[in-house]
């Protein structure tokens, strides 16, 4: 079996990391203005449901989102606290039921 020089391989890894690193940075920027699950043909590739989906005869459903919403600003910024609060609410709810 052929052999690979470790130093030569390391250089290839660096090249791959650089390419993927740029892609990941771009994906992060792009996700502010376009749903990352939407492919180049505006088809939805998500495994979960979405209200922007419309059925298609070609397989993957179509996405009808206008991409104007920055969904990230709507996300919880202090999830640990939110989870605790939710647990408290559940506990209180259970007590009230009893």
């Amino acid at each position: 079996m052929q052999k690979i020089d470790p130093e030569a391989y390391r250089k290839r890894l660096e090249r791959m990391s650089a390419i993927f690193g740029e892609m990941v940075e771009h994906a992060d920027e792009q996700s502010l203005t376009r749903c990352p699950y939407k492919d180049r043909h505006d088809r939805c590739t998500a495994l979960f449901g979405c209200r922007h989906r419309r059925p298609s005869e070609e397989g993957l459903p179509h996405c009808v989102s206008d991409d104007k919403l920055d969904y990230r600003s709507a996300w919880e910024s202090a999830p640990a606290e939110a989870v605790d609060k939710m647990r408290d609410r559940l506990k209180k709810g259970r007590k009230n039921e009893q």
Binding site: M1, P6, R15, I19, G21, M23, D39, R40, F48
Partner: protein, 254 residues
């Protein structure tokens, strides 16, 4: 000086002509592909097209024919991924297409791994990755996996909706030293904690470093859940994975 017509593969020629705009990138790619073998051009074309079966087949054939693994990487896989990167940057393709190309690259790299092993080049580390139980969001996880693989890690992807038992079984089966869990929903985030508790209950917690991530996850949440580290994005994931491996090495040497 090479010209576009010197490239045999029609698909590659069309890609350069249609999608590349920066003169230095056009020149570099024409230079690269015009001197590469037709099989390498075909491999790059299949990778750009996200066709992992063809990449798999061409890589196997190339290595069987005695083509050097580094040439396969340079002229086939990395050359193709370079074009993918440009098309993504220019918003011609999007994340789902990029991930398909990354899967095609993995199919090719799978044939190079035995050669790396025979050359005494070990993977940087072995990582189990999955989205937690009840969560079907996988883009962030998939980008992390792409970055980790591109950095020399072996990654076993458990996909979405991963149960505690599936995480534990995979860590044991692959003797992985790292586990990465992802969640996008505040409702599924507690399942990270439950999985960590399951590792403790099964007396496996000391065997693996656990990292967590996902858009709503924070360092504070990771600490609360008892994770070993938190990565805010795919770039941070690779740095964290390397840092945790160093910690493992230090603990073993202590």
């Amino acid at each position: 000086m090479a010209e576009l017509g010197d490239i045999q593969n029609e698909f590659i020629r069309a890609e350069i002509e249609e999608y590349l705009e920066r003169p230095e990138e056009i020149e570099r790619n024409i230079e690269l592909f015009s001197r590469s073998r037709p099989k390498m051009q075909d491999m790059a074309a299949a990778l750009i097209d996200g066709d992992n079966d063809t990449v798999d087949q061409l890589t196997r054939e190339a290595l069987d024919e005695g083509i050097e693994a580094l040439e396969v990487m340079d002229d086939g896989l990395i050359a193709g991924m370079g074009i993918v990167g440009i098309k993504f940057r220019e918003n011609i393709i999007f994340v789902p297409e990029v991930l398909a190309c990354a899967r095609a690259m993995k199919a090719g790299m799978a044939h190079i791994e035995p050669i790396l092993s025979a050359s005494g080049i070990d993977p940087v580390g072995t990582v189990i990755m999955g989205t937690v139980k009840g969560d079907l969001h996988d883009i962030g996880k998939n980008l992390c996996i792409m970055m980790l693989r591109g950095s020399g890690f072996v990654v076993h992807d458990l996909g979405v909706d991963t149960s505690e038992d599936e995480f534990m079984d995979a860590v044991e089966e692959h003797e992985a030293s790292l586990l990465g869990m992802s969640a996008l929903l505040t409702t599924t985030m507690p399942n990270m904690g439950k999985t960590i508790e399951a590792f403790i209950d099964a007396d496996l917690r000391e065997d693996v470093k656990i990292m967590v991530g996902g858009a709503p996850v924070t360092q504070e949440f990771a600490d609360d859940m008892g994770a070993d580290g938190y990565g805010k994005d795919a770039l941070a994931c690779v740095d964290l994975a390397k840092q945790l491996l160093e910690e493992i090495e230090e603990e073993q040497n202590a």
